[in-house]
């Protein structure tokens, strides 16, 4: 049974992505007691699946390593993985939270030596690669996974393979009897940092993501660049593994669209500009990038980056929301059909890979949060101190990493204000 010491001066942070980790660390480094919940087996969230950040083109794992070191060193934070909030009752300064914890079947004793993975043969689609690759039934989610403990997939836990894994573990870290448990804990304030998920591209029917192999999403493209990713870091066409020569990037794929997400997801323009630099970096003059856009939203200093990309002769910009994609059956190339609205030019352009810059959708739409929050109809949390529950990062608005962290830092202070009031009242 997981036991957690938490009081009404504890800050509960829901979500262990960069926003949740930031909120938890900033509060803990102010001396506050924090419980950090993550529904996945490891922290890091969406950013750990990115190859580089714009506009610096630096690596997300670099900052993640620092945050993990802060986390390991800080005794004020209690991290629970594979844990999700079931219900929140009570009021600011006095919340009671029920948390459901799924079994990992691997205890703290795990040394991440990897013997269990050797003993397990069956494979499953790799969530970390959006299913573009397979992973073992016993696995470490990724190189920088923290806690650095393996996970035994529930689908093998009950099988002979589970037994084999148990037998293979020299430190006796595998516990096949682990059950799902529900615990309740106290909290004075709650920071809700459940982040975002990529909009389901299959719903954008005219683009045929569900029908055409060479139509992929921007997040899948990121995974391709990871040397430990599904294509060992190589930009490839899913249909035949060939190197693309003429890549299209479609903006607002699911954003600014009443049929999908009404909001502008803010990051997609920059993500695409960044991804054209991947193409340039890896394929040089052997590949062209075309960006189909409505407005390029490269705010503040980031516009320098936008101008730099525009200077690349291999990158062209077309002001147009692509109307439809059709496929050439023989080559699996794709035709993008539409109209360049700058002067009305019809096009039916051939590309051999299409990347949909998919929008950001709240992982947990604010309306469905099992607690009293102020939500707008787009599914984001709006600031309302009276609730004692504060959105951090993308649960509060479509934000880039930098703004999400800024927002999470602010959320940490708002939570501290609540628990300090409690402390004051209790003397």
């Amino acid at each position: 049974m997981t036991d957690v010491i938490a009081t009404n001066q504890t800050i509960l942070v829901v979500g262990g992505g960069i926003s949740g980790m930031t909120a938890a660390l900033e509060a803990a480094e102010c001396g506050k007691q924090v419980v950090l919940l993550e529904k996945n087996p490891s922290t890091g969230g969406r950013v750990s699946q990115l190859y580089k950040y714009f506009p610096k083109l630096c690596f997300p794992t670099c900052g993640l390593e620092i945050n993990l070191r802060r986390l390991k060193a800080n005794r004020n934070i209690r991290l629970l993985t594979m844990a999700e909030v079931e219900q929140v009752t009570g009021s600011p300064g006095d919340f009671t939270v029920t948390v459901r914890i799924r079994p990992r079947f691997v205890t703290e004793a795990c040394t991440a030596c990897g013997d269990c993975a050797k003993a397990v043969t069956s494979e499953f689609p790799n969530e970390f690669d959006y299913g573009m690759s397979q992973r073992k039934g016993a696995y470490l989610p990724h190189n920088l996974a923290y806690p650095s403990r393996y996970v035994l997939d529930a689908r093998v836990a009950g099988t002979a393979e589970g037994q084999a894994a148990k037998a293979a573990c020299k430190v006796g870290a595998i516990d096949l009897d682990q059950k799902e448990e529900v615990i309740t804990l106290k909290a004075g304030a709650i920071i809700w940092a459940t982040g975002w998920k990529p909009y389901d591209a299959a719903k954008i029917q005219p683009y045929g993501y569900d029908r055409f192999a060479n139509v992929i999403t921007s997040v899948e493209f990121e995974r391709m660049l990871d040397p430990f990713g599904p294509t060992q870091g190589k930009i490839r066409r899913p249909s035949d593994g060939a190197t693309p020569k003429n890549i299209a990037f479609i903006q607002c794929a699911g954003s600014r669209d009443r049929n999908h997400l009404k909001q502008c997801s803010r990051i997609c323009c920059m993500a695409t500009l960044k991804q054209t630099t991947y193409v340039r970096e890896q394929l040089g003059d052997a590949a062209q990038s075309s960006v189909y856009y409505i407005d390029i939203r490269a705010i503040d200093r980031i516009d320098d980056f936008h101008r730099r990309v525009k200077e690349d002769p291999n990158v062209t910009f077309v002001k147009s929301k692509v109307a439809s994609i059709t496929r050439d059956k023989a080559s699996n190339d794709l035709f993008l059909n539409g109209v360049n609205t700058e002067g009305y030019h019809r096009y039916s352009n051939r590309h051999d890979l299409v990347v949909l810059a998919v929008g950001m959708e709240p992982s947990v739409p604010a309306g469905t949060i099992p607690a009293q929050v102020r939500a707008n109809p787009h599914g984001f949390i709006e600031l309302d101190p009276a609730t004692g529950i504060f959105g951090a990062g993308v649960s509060s608005e479509a934000l880039d990493v930098n703004r999400a962290v800024q927002n999470a830092t602010a959320a940490a202070l708002r939570a501290i204000q609540v628990v300090n009031r409690v402390a004051g009242a209790e003397g």
Partner: protein, 211 residues
């Protein structure tokens, strides 16, 4: 230039957008377009549009009244509704195209011999006469709509179709005798007359008020 057109020009001066909003079916949506062009790219008749919908909307905002209303573009609409379902901004583009067509026709700005304009008018006349469409009459009228000589050619060209359809009983030969229409013709026509009145009254009001 007919009278309505003259006085509308008077009233709205350069504010064509307001004119469209006040007088064109679903015209109040025009301002919501963000120029993404998805409608233009989705239209089956795309290649034949002089100005695609999104461009028409921009022209309306830019006050290009004459160019818009005398354009053949909106007459290219096949009512396939592809633009409507894809428009990210919810514009009922098909209806706006129909509305622009209707308005252009009321203002007498339709290009001469615009085939769809003529056909649509014939269809309407045919329908309003009896409340139902007499396909064969419509067909014949249609084939002769470009004048006699042209008509002969067309009907020759279409003969096989006509005959084929007769053979396959798609057209009831009796219809040539005009057998078939609504019983309450009086009420039916009164209804349409009233509807027309109400709309023209509105337009008259706008002529006076300038929207």
């Amino acid at each position: 230039m007919n009278d309505i057109n003259r006085s509308m020009l008077e009233q709205y001066r350069n504010r064509f957008l307001r004119e469209v909003e006040a007088n064109v079916e679903e015209g109040q949506w025009v301002k919501m377009c963000m120029q993404c062009g998805v409608c233009a790219g989705s239209c089956p008749m795309g290649p034949y549009w002089e100005h695609p919908p999104q461009e028409l909307f921009m022209m309306i905002r830019a006050g290009k009244r004459e160019e818009v209303l005398s354009s053949t573009s909106m007459w290219m609409c096949t009512s396939c509704y592809n633009c409507i379902v894809r428009c990210p901004r919810e514009l009922p583009i098909t209806h706006i195209m129909h509305g622009l067509a209707t308005y252009a026709k009321r203002l007498g700005l339709v290009p001469k011999d615009q085939p769809t304009a003529k056909f649509a008018q014939k269809f309407w006349n045919n329908l309003t006469k009896k409340g139902r469409v007499n396909e064969l009459k419509l067909g014949l009228a249609l084939y002769f709509m470009n004048g006699f000589a042209e008509g002969v050619k067309t009907s020759m060209k279409m003969q096989d179709v006509g005959l084929g359809m007769l053979k396959s009983k798609r057209l009831d030969p009796l219809e040539i005798l005009g057998g078939h229409g609504v019983k309450d013709k009086a009420g039916f026509q009164a209804m349409l007359k009233k509807a027309e009145e109400i709309e023209m009254a509105k337009i008259a009001k706008n002529q006076a008020a300038g929207g």
